[in-house]
Structure formats: structure tokens, C-alpha cells
């Protein structure tokens, strides 16, 4: 998915609502530098490790909210780091960052214990959205049967949606789309994240299909309400208001 505008308010102006401590394990100094700078500008605290050994040591302290791990690293490779951390009971969410981006490699990364996988090159907005998604995921109660965002409510058992008490009828896919957005309420969700999580497609369809689905959903949940709940974040993706 192309992220056209770089003047996103996301990381130039608006600080993160929940600052996180992030460890970047990446051997390319320049790339790591830009990444750390971008994360800091977004209101997070970022540490950097230049090789696998240092990365494993720092990550083993267990003080970080999210790890960003490159796959090909000097001394210890990324997947081994993740495996060792998981063996030692450290459950810090991991975003794997790698130039090896096809589906097979993605599966390998997730099997090793990674939580998300992003192929290089990436758009920073995409990375940030995924990091924040991982950061808050750890505190979510995944077994809840009711999800709520502002005056919108989803009942996962009866598969019904209400806004301000009024029922909204959704197609199954629209329901899934809304569920994913509401689960990440207050956080930006990128088009690629939607394609991966709602449609389970790990390729780029090169067109704005997602936008059309979002605008359909929007017409159902926002039409007739003063304050739209489903917002478009320029240059990044979409977000459901949580308050």
C-alpha cells in the first residue's frame, strides 16, 4: 500500500498517547538512526542494539514494550534472538523487520515467535502503526465478548453492532473489518494491516480497494451522526475513536 503524504501529523507533530520503550535491533547504523529518530519524534523512547548479541542482552532485561528485530544480524540472527527470548519466558511483542518479505519467510518469522512481520523497505507510518498496535495488544483482554469504542458497541456472540443503542446491520466482512478497527480503537490501522488481518492477503493489490470498503462501512456507522467515529489519518490509514 502506498502512503502518499509524508506530512502526516502522526509522527511530525502529535506525540504518542502511550509512550513506549522500544528496542531496535538493527545492524545498519543509518537505517537504525532514522528509525530511532522517528520513534522519538513520535513520543516513544527507543534504544538501539547494533548486533544480535547486544540485542539479546538488552532484550533479556525485559524492560521494553516492543522489540523491532532485523533478521540478518551479526553474531546472532534475528530469529534465534526471538527463540531464545521466548525460551526464557520473555513475552515482549516482536515486530520482525526484514528484506526477506515473501510469505514463506513471514511464516518462518511468526513460527519463531514473532508477533508481526514487516518487509523492507517499509513506510515509517506503517511501521509506527504496527508498533503501537503491538504495544497495546499486550494489555488487551482478548477474550472479551463485547467491544466498545465511544458510543459504538459490538457484541461478538450475537454478532450485532449498535451505536448509541441503535442497531446497525453489517455484512459479515464489514463486521470483521469493524471488529478489527474497534479492537485497535484509538490506534492507527494501516491499509496493509487491514488486508492482512481482515482478508488474510499478504500481497499488495496496487489499488485502493480497502478505501472503498472503509467508505461503505463509514456510510453505515457514521451516517446521521454528528461526530464521525471512523477517521481517516492522512498518509497512514484509519482509526476508530475510542472516546
Amino acid at each position: 500500500m502506498q502512503l502518499k503524504e509524508l506530512d502526516s501529523p502522526l509522527w511530525t507533530a502529535k506525540p504518542a498517547r502511550q509512550p513506549m520503550r522500544i528496542l531496535v535491533i538493527e545492524d545498519d547504523r543509518e537505517a537504525a538512526g532514522w528509525l530511532v529518530k522517528g520513534l522519538a519524534e513520535s513520543g516513544h523512547v527507543a534504544d538501539h542494539a547494533g548486533d544480535g548479541e547486544e540485542g539479546l542482552n538488552l532484550a533479556s532485561e525485559g524492560v521494553h514494550d516492543v522489540l523491532i528485530v532485523d533478521r540478518m544480524l551479526p553474531k546472532i540472527d534475528g530469529l534465534t534472538i526471538i527463540r531464545k527470548l521466548r525460551e526464557n519466558g520473555i513475552k515482549t511483542p516482536v515486530l520482525i523487520l526484514s528484506a526477506l518479505s515473501d510469505v514463506d519467510e513471514r511464516v518462518k518469522g511468526l513460527r519463531a515467535g514473532g508477533d508481526d512481520y514487516l518487509g523492507k523497505p517499509y513506510a515509517f507510518a506503517e511501521l509506527l502503526a504496527r508498533i503501537e498496535n503491538l504495544g497495546h495488544r499486550s494489555v488487551d483482554a482478548p477474550l472479551a465478548t463485547r467491544l466498545r469504542a465511544a458510543d459504538l458497541e459490538i457484541d461478538l456472540l450475537t454478532r450485532t453492532v449498535t451505536r448509541g443503542g441503535k442497531p446497525i446491520v453489517l455484512q459479515p466482512r464489514e463486521f470483521k473489518l469493524l471488529e478489527y478497527l474497534v479492537r485497535n480503537a484509538g490506534h492507527i490501522v494501516t491499509r496493509t494491516m487491514l488486508l492482512e488481518n481482515v482478508w488474510d492477503y499478504h500481497f499488495d493489490p496496487q489499488t485502493n480497494v480497502i478505501d472503498v470498503h472503509i467508505s461503505r462501512l463509514r456510510s453505515k456507522i457514521d451516517k446521521g451522526y454528528d461526530e464521525p467515529i471512523l477517521q481517516t489519518v492522512r498518509g497512514a490509514g484509519y482509526m476508530i475513536r475510542d472516546t
Binding site: K4, H202, D204, V209
Partner: protein, 462 residues
């Protein structure tokens, strides 16, 4: 290597030699059996006849005395039966018989003897071999009964000679034939080796010689030639791709460079910003192109074929159509699917969905004539042993002469140049089909295009 030694080392020659040995052994066994059944048996029969006669004469002597035996010997000697008789007294004087004197013989009382005898044949005399039994009658007479075995001996020697000649001829023919066959075989193998050397030396147009006899060497040469054709076309495709890639990457890079240089010259903040934004756009497109090229390469290399699993293509169709249906509607058109469950194929859901996505995307872009809206149908059905997924539109279609080349990388038809795209969509579809052992068939939908994914139907292992 010495060519003669090389000849002896060929597998054909070794095989011929082995057969030759087997053949020689069986010929020897056969002739030996014939020899045994004729010469040896006849000789033995002769011996038995002689012995019986000696026995009969001894009986005569015992019953009728000397007179009796002399009578019998004289009567029998008169017959020209090839038999030889001689009765002498103890001093060796002839009493009766057709033999003049006792031949030289060992002193044994009773023994088999063989001696030469001159026989009158018309006017000439011939020396024949006689085989005889020498017996002692009551200690006072010597009795010799024999037979002319010349014919028998000659017969035996003819048989023996036949055996030797047969063996010799078999050996010469077998050896010569083996050498000839191996030389022929060797010549053809050498020709193939030479051809492969010239190809290795860089002459990709070279091919293995084919005789036209459709024997195993011809089949090998044909298979090698097919392989070479495939390699050559792949190499040609690769050359074309790399030059296309170079060209297609050069154009946007030149644009980027020109824009950035112009912005730097202008010195204005706004220009900088605009140039940077356009640069990001342009590099995104370049990256998309690279990713598409990589996906095609991966699909074509068949690397992930092991990752194929039985999957119902109908579910892929309905998922992708569901994803794209709102978009078609947005453009005022329609996208309908008609695929019943049970389209089992060995497939990769991601790649098949991506291929179908590309076809639908094309149909949305080019599937409507000027002023019309896209009307797209996606159907899935089993035809014979194939699963056919067809995307049909009512656009301009693709001219028959262009259908072959639109799947080549970076090929964009003139009519499509005004729309965004990198010319890799159908290449990817065709790469994905190759990986799935299927084909992309482009046909006239009269009007419009019918793009079909034809995949082998997967039968559940029962």
C-alpha cells in the same frame, strides 16, 4: 585415450563380449551333446556288436568245437560287411578268417586293439582303421573279431571339426559385430559429446545430432535438445528482462534526478518539498516494480511448489470478488461471480488470489469501452480434468496478435499507456500459473476479453 582402447571400453562392446561368451558356451554345449549322441554312441554300439559276436563265436566253439567256429568264421568272412575275423593257433598260424596275420597286440589275454588295414576299393587300396577284440579261446587259439571303423572315425572327426569351425565363426562374427556396434555407438556418443562441448564453449544454437531412427540415443538427444531449447528461451527471456528492467528503471530515475536538480537550482523551500514528495512517490512505484519482479521470479522458479496444498478455488474466487465488488460498484459497473464449490486445485491461496486480483484489476481498468461502465463476470467451473476460472469483460479486448506478448514483462499495449501500471500484472499471472502447472488463456469475449486461469483439477487421494 587410445581410440582402440576406447572402443573396447564402450558398454556396447562389453555387452557384446558378454553375449559372445554366453553364445560360445551354449554352442559348445549343443555341439558337444550332438557329438556325444552320434560319434561316441555309434562307437559304443560297434564295441557291443563286436563283443556279442565274440561271445557267439566262443559259444560255437564250446558247443560245436573247432569245426563249428571255423565254419561260422568262414561263412561270415565271405560277406562283405566290413567285419574282420581271424582265428589262429597258439603259434600264430592262421586257421580261418579274412585277416592274413595277427596284428601287433599286447600280450594280454583279452583286449581291445586298433590297427591299420589296407582295404581294396575297386582298383585302389585304402588304409582303414580297424577296431577289434582279441580273445583267447581255451588257451590254444587266438580269436580276433573286429570292424572297419574308418567311416565312423571320419564322421566323428567331421563333427569335431564342425564344432571347432562353428566356434571360430561365432567368435569372429560376435567379436567383429560387437566392435562394429560399439564403433557406431561410440561415434554417436562422441557426436553428442562434441555437440555439448561446442555448446559449453558458447554456441547456444548448437544441438545434439539426431539420426531419425528414434532409438534410445535419439530419444536422449531429443530430450537434451528440448532442454537446450528451454534453456535458450529462458536465457533470451532473461536478457530481454534485464534490458527491460534497466530501461524501465532508468526512466523514473532520470525523472527523479531531473526533478531534484531543478528543485535545488530553484532554491525555494516549496520546490524542495514538492520534489521530495514526488521522489517518495516515484521510489514507491520503483519498489512496487521490484516487488512485482521478485514475485514473478519466485513464482516462475517454482521454488514454493512444495507449499501448494489442496484448496477450493471457488473460495478464492468468492473472496477476491467480495474484495473488489464495492470497487466495481463505485465505478458504476458490476462484478458478479458464478463459481460453485468443488473446484479443487493444488494451490497457494495468496498467489492464486494475487493472480485473480490482477485479472480483475485489469478488467476494471480496461474492461469497458469509452463511456461505458465495466461489466465483469468471474466464473469458475470444472471442464474435463481442469478447473477453469474466467474473468470476462466487455472492453476493447486484446488483439489476437498481441495476446502472446502481453504476458512478457513490461509489455504495455498502446491503448493502456495512459493508465497507471507497470506492465507486470499479466507476467505475474502467467508466472503463478506456471508454478501451478496451469496456463493463462486469453480469448475474445466478443466483445471484450476473457482471461482464463486453467488449472489441473486435484483429485483427492482415495
Amino acid at each position: 585415450m587410445n581410440p582402440r582402447i576406447k572402443l573396447l571400453r564402450t558398454s556396447t562392446f562389453r555387452l557384446a563380449a558378454l553375449y559372445l561368451i554366453l553364445f560360445a558356451v551354449s554352442v559348445s554345449a549343443l555341439l558337444g551333446y550332438v557329438y556325444w549322441n552320434t560319434a561316441v554312441l555309434l562307437e559304443r554300439q560297434t564295441d557291443e556288436t563286436i563283443r556279442a559276436e565274440v561271445q557267439a563265436l566262443a559259444d560255437q566253439y564250446r558247443i560245436r568245437g573247432l569245426r563249428g567256429i571255423i565254419d561260422t568264421i568262414q561263412r561270415r568272412s565271405a560277406e562283405d560287411s566290413g567285419s574282420v575275423y581271424l582265428l589262429t593257433d597258439s603259434s600264430g598260424r592262421r586257421i580261418a578268417g579274412n585277416l592274413n596275420s595277427l596284428p601287433a597286440m599286447p600280450d594280454d589275454e583279452a583286449a581291445w586293439i586298433e590297427f591299420p588295414l589296407d582295404v581294396e576299393k575297386g582298383s585302389s587300396r585304402e588304409r582303414h582303421i580297424v577296431r577289434a577284440f582279441h580273445a583267447d579261446l581255451a588257451g590254444s587259439f587266438d580269436l580276433v573279431v573286429g570292424r572297419d571303423v574308418e567311416a565312423l572315425r571320419q564322421f566323428a572327426s567331421i563333427i569335431r571339426r564342425t564344432i571347432y569351425y562353428a566356434l571360430a565363426i561365432a567368435l569372429v562374427l560376435g567379436l567383429g559385430g560387437g566392435l562394429l556396434m560399439s564403433r557406431n555407438f561410440l561415434r554417436r556418443v562422441d557426436a553428442i559429446t562434441d555437440a555439448s562441448r561446442t555448446i559449453m564453449a558458447g554456441n547456444m544454437a548448437g544441438r545434439m545430432p539426431v539420426q531419425g531412427s528414434n532409438d534410445e540415443l535419439d530419444r536422449l538427444a531429443l530430450a537434451l535438445n528440448e532442454m537446450l531449447d528451454q534453456i535458450e528461451s529462458l536465457m533470451a527471456a532473461m536478457k530481454e528482462v534485464s534490458s527491460n528492467v534497466a530501461h524501465d528503471l532508468k526512466t523514473p530515475l532520470t525523472r527523479i534526478k531531473a526533478r531534484v536538480e531543478a528543485a535545488l537550482r530553484s532554491g525555494s523551500e516549496g520546490e524542495y518539498r514538492a520534489a521530495l514528495e514526488r521522489t517518495v512517490d516515484e521510489s514507491d512505484r520503483l519498489l512496487d516494480t521490484f516487488n512485482a519482479l521478485l514475485s514473478i521470479a519466485r513464482a516462475e522458479a517454482g521454488q514454493s511448489r512444495s507449499g501448494l496444498i489442496p484448496i477450493d478455488a471457488a473460495s478464492i474466487v468468492s473472496d477476491v470478488v467480495e474484495l473488489y465488488e464495492p470497487m466495481a460498484e463505485e465505478e458504476g459497473g458490476t462484478l458478479v461471480s458464478d463459481a460453485r464449490a468443488g473446484l479443487m486445485v493444488m494451490g497457494d491461496r495468496q498467489l492464486l488470489a494475487q493472480a485473480l486480483t490482477n485479472l480483475i484489476d485489469n478488467a476494471l481498468k480496461y474492461g469497458a469501452r469509452e463511456g461505458e461502465t465495466p461489466q465483469i463476470t468471474v466464473s469458475g467451473a470444472v471442464e474435463d480434468d481442469k478447473v477453469v476460472i474466467a474473468v470476462r469483460d466487455h472492453g476493447e479486448g486484446i488483439a489476437p496478435e498481441d495476446r502472446g506478448r502481453v504476458t512478457d514483462r513490461f509489455v504495455r499495449l498502446d491503448s493502456s499507456r495512459s493508465k497507471p501500471g507497470n506492465g507486470l500484472g499479466l507476467s505475474l499471472v502467467s508466472g503463478v500459473m506456471k508454478l501451478h502447472k496451469g496456463t493463462l488463456v486469453l480469448e475474445d469475449n466478443a466483445p471484450g476479453l476473457s482471461a482464463k486461469l486453467v488449472l489441473p483439477l486435484h483429485h483427492e487421494a482415495s
